[in-house]
Symmetry: C2
Subunit: 416 residues, 2 copies
């Protein structure tokens, strides 16, 4: 179990371009005011290692960290590949996704800072679920703005969130100024992660006693997720393996950086000998079709301008079941990897990723989250093309047991 989070920023090929205010804007000041002090300190730190507090480490152990690194032997046999495919099983955490790693850290910091209520956004629902779970751990309340299309699709996850006691608003909502403006605009009606981010920030701005917590994009979140890669590295070493390919799905970039950060020194040294792959949704093809430039992370323009691969604020996101990857922009850190040529990117259509999920269920016995299917699909493509015993490591960011509706939509039940 790692004792420190990695300050990945020091390992990147270029410095992180800092966020900026839009002309006449004051988003940076707002973000300082509504965010937890501890995470802002982490983002300012020059240290290579940021210690994981004792209490957080105890909670990590309680939820089952280190998670397992399993070999996908049945999948390998099915593909007839010489590659060895390793799966980092974040899906086995109690809320079913990697999101808990940062949620626990942030809820802990909040409790230390005397905060009683957290407000946040969620796309597919994994982050909202994790925040509510972590909030309960530390006796806090949570308010979640949930991208409307996903909230309406996912009856099971909504039921679990409701039973956990979260206060959930479908976004765009009537609760915040941002939500009301989006509703009146007649655009982005189905909601998106970006709009939900704007609403959560707007809510925090209007309620001084509440703190805004983020589940992706921002550097401190990516840092917290480096427990994934640190464990993976230790587990591979114990097996006598060295990775040739690292694969992760990419939304806000935190499971990707979480897996890959501890291998960035290797990447620098080995060049093309270690490949990094980000798998995104063809419905939101930021890395494959976007532009590397400054943009707001939310259509409501509550966020500062940050540099990332973006499709532009006005990009109308299709209503897919891949809520976690459904945003028009992304994280600066992933953008730096991409623009420096360290990160390859692939995009997949919704139907093919649900086919991948079914295949993984049949062969490996577990149902991956739609987001994780992207990474698995990329790993399958790599393994299929492999001509020598390549070691491919995939982050299975979450399970799909609370995302069955998407699978059913893609492949309706027949005769059962």
């Amino acid at each position: 179990m790692p004792t420190a989070w990695l300050n990945f920023a020091r390992l990147l090929p270029e410095e992180l371009p800092p966020p900026q205010d839009a002309e006449g804007g004051s988003a940076l000041e707002l973000m300082t005011r509504i965010r937890l002090r501890a995470v802002q300190e982490q983002e300012r730190s020059d240290e290579a290692l940021l210690p994981v507090p004792e209490e957080v480490r105890r909670r990590y152990a309680e939820i089952g960290r280190p998670t397992r690194l399993t070999r996908a032997r049945a999948l390998e046999r099915h593909l007839g590949t010489p590659a060895r495919i390793y799966l980092k099983r974040e899906d086995q955490l109690p809320t079913g996704s990697f999101k808990l790693n940062s949620a626990i850290a942030q809820a802990y910091f909040a409790s230390r800072e005397g905060v009683r209520t957290l407000v946040t956004e969620t796309g597919a629902g994994q982050w909202g679920h994790a925040v509510q779970y972590a909030a309960r751990m530390f006796g806090l309340e949570s308010i979640v703005f949930w991208a409307g299309v996903s909230a309406r699709q996912k009856t099971s996850r909504r039921a679990v969130l409701s039973m956990l006691g979260a206060r959930v608003h479908e976004s765009p909502s009537a609760v915040t100024a941002v939500g009301r403006a989006v509703r009146e605009s007649g655009r982005h009606a189905s909601g998106s992660l970006g709009t939900a981010i704007g609403e959560a920030i707007s809510y925090a701005a209007e309620h001084p006693e509440v703190r805004y917590v983020s589940g992706s994009n921002l550097p401190h979140v990516l840092m917290h997720q480096t427990v994934i890669g640190q464990e993976t590295r230790a587990q591979l070493t114990a097996l006598g393996e060295e990775p040739d390919v690292l694969v992760a799905a990419v939304g806000g970039g935190s499971n990707l950086m979480g897996l890959m950060a501890p291998f960035l020194e290797q990447k620098r040294a080995r060049g093309d000998g270690l490949r990094l792959i980000g798998a995104e949704s063809a419905a939101a093809p930021r890395l494959t079709k976007g532009t590397w430039r400054y943009d707001h992370a939310d259509p409501g323009r509550m966020t500062p301008l940050s540099k990332s691969y973006t499709l532009g604020l006005d990009y109308e996101l299709p209503e897919t079941h891949v809520g976690g990857l459904r945003q028009h922009s992304g994280s600066t850190a992933v953008g730096v990897l991409r623009s420096a040529g360290w990160l390859d990117a692939v995009a997949y259509e919704e139907r093919e990723i649900f086919e991948t999920g079914r295949l993984v269920l049949r062969l490996e016995g577990f149902l991956p989250a739609p987001e994780s299917c992207h990474a698995l699909r990329a790993a399958i493509d790599e393994a299929s093309a492999a001509r020598r015993p390549t070691v491919i490591v995939v982050c299975v960011s979450g399970h799909g047991l609370l995302d069955i509706e998407g699978y059913l939509d893609a492949f309706p039940l027949q005769g059962v």
Copy 2:
């Protein structure tokens, strides 16, 4: 990881009354013909330990055995109890329940005996799910007769079974003579585990190339599940703990005996110093209201007569969401524990067990299967009554993420 299954029959307070044919019946001969040879050998064995084959042990490791033994600290705090509550987390296995322990063993034996197709029954769906998963592991097919009421309730689990490729029939079905007879009788129309058992046996009788596998009740299944208790005992010993109370939900009795068998020598020595509790559904109160006598396990009378606590063949089971505990009779072995006074029994109503599940979700972060809620509820009752630091160990037999419909039925979503 245990290297042998325990032959629990040698540890019981009395000998197991053997199954018998009804007058003029030939069910015993039929059961010999349609069952796997290996499991029948196990049931005849006088050995104290039955070795787990190397290949099965490898598969146990792959699915994540040993499962975790976690302390329910948040629950303890909530109850303000001096008791220490330990949870044996069978819910964390890939198909979400303990059923996989026997399914893997039986699928392995089937593959060794040249069998290509397995037929079985399932109540709540956990066993059918596990059989199909294990069948895939060994390249076999499976046919599942699923108690109709549960099959119709559980959209998510049905979707997973369908994606796994199982051939599923709602029971009573038109596929077997037994199913057709039950349909024509105008009784047991909603189906039950018992009727599904009869159908699976009937199907195997009509298809000589198919073998019938059972998920509970029968001695070999209970033996396979003793990995649960053996791991628990080792885990408790490593913690320096000795149990005062062991609790399990009781349907066919396999998770109960699986947890408790390795502690039966202690029970004999310590008497009331070690309490064993079986938690059943008030909708099928065999142990609390049934009679200890010979009866068929299925209304279709395909099974031999076996001695157990029974409500009688004609007992009309209410349509609950607790499909796994919904049978009119049970296993002989559990009956022996009960009739000898070694096993206490409690029965719970459906609404109170869903309340328990919600409480466990809020406090411990995971959603238990409706069946497992019975055990958790009994543990909570014991902990609430405890006046000294009692050690309570509960088998969490499965998770409830594929049983959300039951939770929603008991507590409809409001304002989310």
